[in-house]
């Protein structure tokens, strides 16, 4: 397993320039078909925010949530969620989307899932701007903690790269897995406190513990700290998160290392 991890890391480092260039090309590909191009990312996100805010408001009123202004509460959850969700839904199809590259080029195949993650991250950086605008307007800019934000942002990136290394080959190999996976992804949205918070279920500590096993919960709650609460990461929870990340990397790089010789045959 160590051999696989070393190989994958080496291949990534050796090709980092190429990966970034291709990631930018792939990002441009998605937006080049429309005349508004990259602005659709902005517009799409604004519509998204508006929908979530409206329905949250209709369901529970516009009051503060866990002490935070509702717009900041939603933004701090949605910002990381947009990254995570894009990768869960479309980044995970990395191998399938790049079939042509795998079957016709001598290419460092283990880097393909990461290229998709990079591409999504670059695209989504624009949406951070919207969140920053919102928190400035409602006067929450003073609470924004840059260090915490950077920590959780980097943690999110590192975890999602590992996640994609593991999940994208599984999806490419098996339609059964694909079906199972698609049904579970919706669960993630509701289980993760993106538009709700754990304070509603304070009386069910066991449920909270189970829900916290979801690594995305660590990230979302962390972003809330970065945007408002300012609490430093809980040690125990952080150890859990990073251990899980390491496990994901071991299995993900093993899968990539093993399958890289066979993708061209299997798909």
């Amino acid at each position: 397993m160590f051999k696989a991890l070393k190989f994958v890391v080496k291949e990534h480092i050796q090709n980092i320039g190429r990966m970034c260039k291709i990631a930018v090309d792939h990002m441009k590909k998605q937006t080049s078909l429309t005349s508004l191009g990259i602005w659709w990312i902005f517009i799409g996100d604004i519509i998204h925010y508006a929908i979530y805010f409206t329905f949250r408001y209709l369901m529970t009123g516009g009051g503060d949530v866990q002490g935070m202004h509702i717009l900041v509460f939603l933004s701090s959850g949605l910002v990381p969620w947009f990254f995570i969700n894009d990768i869960i839904n479309s980044g995970s199809k990395a191998i399938l989307k790049n079939k042509a590259i795998i079957t016709s080029f001598a290419f460092p195949i283990t880097t393909i899932p990461t290229i998709e993650v990079l591409s999504i991250f670059i695209k989504r950086l624009f949406s951070l701007v919207i969140a920053f605008v919102i928190i400035s307007i409602v006067g929450y800019a003073q609470y924004f903690n840059v260090l915490l934000f950077l920590y959780y942002f980097i943690a999110m990136f590192i975890f999602m790269v590992g996640f994609n290394l593991l999940i994208s080959p599984m999806i490419a190999l098996s339609n059964d897995f694909n079906m199972l996976y698609s049904s579970l992804t919706r669960l993630f949205f509701f289980a993760t406190p993106v538009i709700w918070s754990f304070d509603r279920i304070q009386h069910m500590p066991l449920v909270i513990t189970i829900l916290k096993l979801n690594p995305f919960a660590y990230i979302i709650m962390g972003f809330r700290d970065a945007f408002y609460y300012g609490e430093i990461p809980d040690l125990q929870y952080s150890i859990y998160f990073w251990s899980l990340t390491i496990v994901v990397y071991f299995f993900g790089s093993y899968a990539q290392f093993r399958l890289r010789k066979y993708y061209a045959d299997f798909i």
């Binding site: 042509a100 590259i101 290419f107 059964d176 093993y254 061209a264």
Partner: protein
């Protein structure tokens, strides 16, 4: 290394699975495969520097798989491939093209997929444009091109990136007459320029005019390796 290509005891099997999900189990436990299909067996080939070797055989006998393995696109199950020099592959000229990008942009994009540095492309982009000979279309989306135009652009990139070794897999079967004439001429230049070439074709004439020697592959095995006329006779005799 004095040879351009050395293929030693090459084997290629495809693993078979009766249920799809077993591939996932196999990934992590190496178990779950129901068998292997032999595609190439005991292949030993040496291509000297500057030599042009033809590869003939019916479709489905492993020719393309062999070419892809030497080009580094897929991997052997056993055995070894040693290569001395940069490799250019003319295997699937249309691969890696993005329909909405222009011909020019596609060349840069495909070059980054091939690992060719941008500076190399900058040096030769004008020659590629000249070779492709598609006028103003070069800066229009590639989805507007005919198949011949597309093939010319793909060919231009592969040729002008100036590799030491060329792997050519029946590339002259695609494209229109214009493409075939143009690329034929250019390939002839390349064939005479001292590059080492592995060339697979269904056309006896092409094999005769270009190759120093021919290899006949049948059922994943080498059945003949030697003189062009003799090889072609055996191949045609068996058709």
């Amino acid at each position: 290394m004095e040879n351009a290509i050395e293929i030693i005891n090459l084997k290629k099997y495809y693993y078979l699975f009766d249920k799809e999900y077993k591939k996932i189990i196999w990934t992590f436990t190496k178990r779950g495969s129901t068998g292997k299909k032999k595609v190439l067996d005991n292949i030993n080939i040496t291509v000297k520097k500057g030599e042009i070797v033809g590869v003939i055989g019916k479709n489905g006998t492993g020719k393309s798989t062999l070419m892809k393995i030497v080009a580094g696109i897929t991997f052997p199950t056993g055995g070894e491939v040693r290569v001395d020099g940069t490799i250019g592959s003319l295997i699937n000229l249309n691969a890696g093209f993005f329909p909405d990008y222009t011909g020019r942009k596609n060349i840069y994009y495909k070059a980054s997929l091939m690992g060719v540095p941008k500076e190399e492309i900058d040096k030769s982009i004008d020659k590629m444009e000249e070779f492709a000979d598609i006028g103003q279309y070069f800066d229009m989306p590639i989805k507007m091109y005919s198949s011949g135009m597309r093939a010319r652009v793909g060919f231009a990139l592969a040729i002008f990136s100036n590799p030491d070794i060329l792997i050519i897999d029946e590339v002259f079967a695609v494209g229109d007459k214009d493409f075939r004439q143009k690329s034929y001429k250019k390939t002839k230049e390349m064939f005479e320029s001292g590059k080492s070439i592995l060339f697979s074709s269904h056309s006896d004439d092409q094999i005769r005019s270009f190759c120093d020697r021919v290899i006949y592959i049948k059922g994943g095995k080498i059945v003949f390796d030697g003189h062009v006329e003799e090889g072609l006779k055996i191949y045609n005799g068996q058709k």
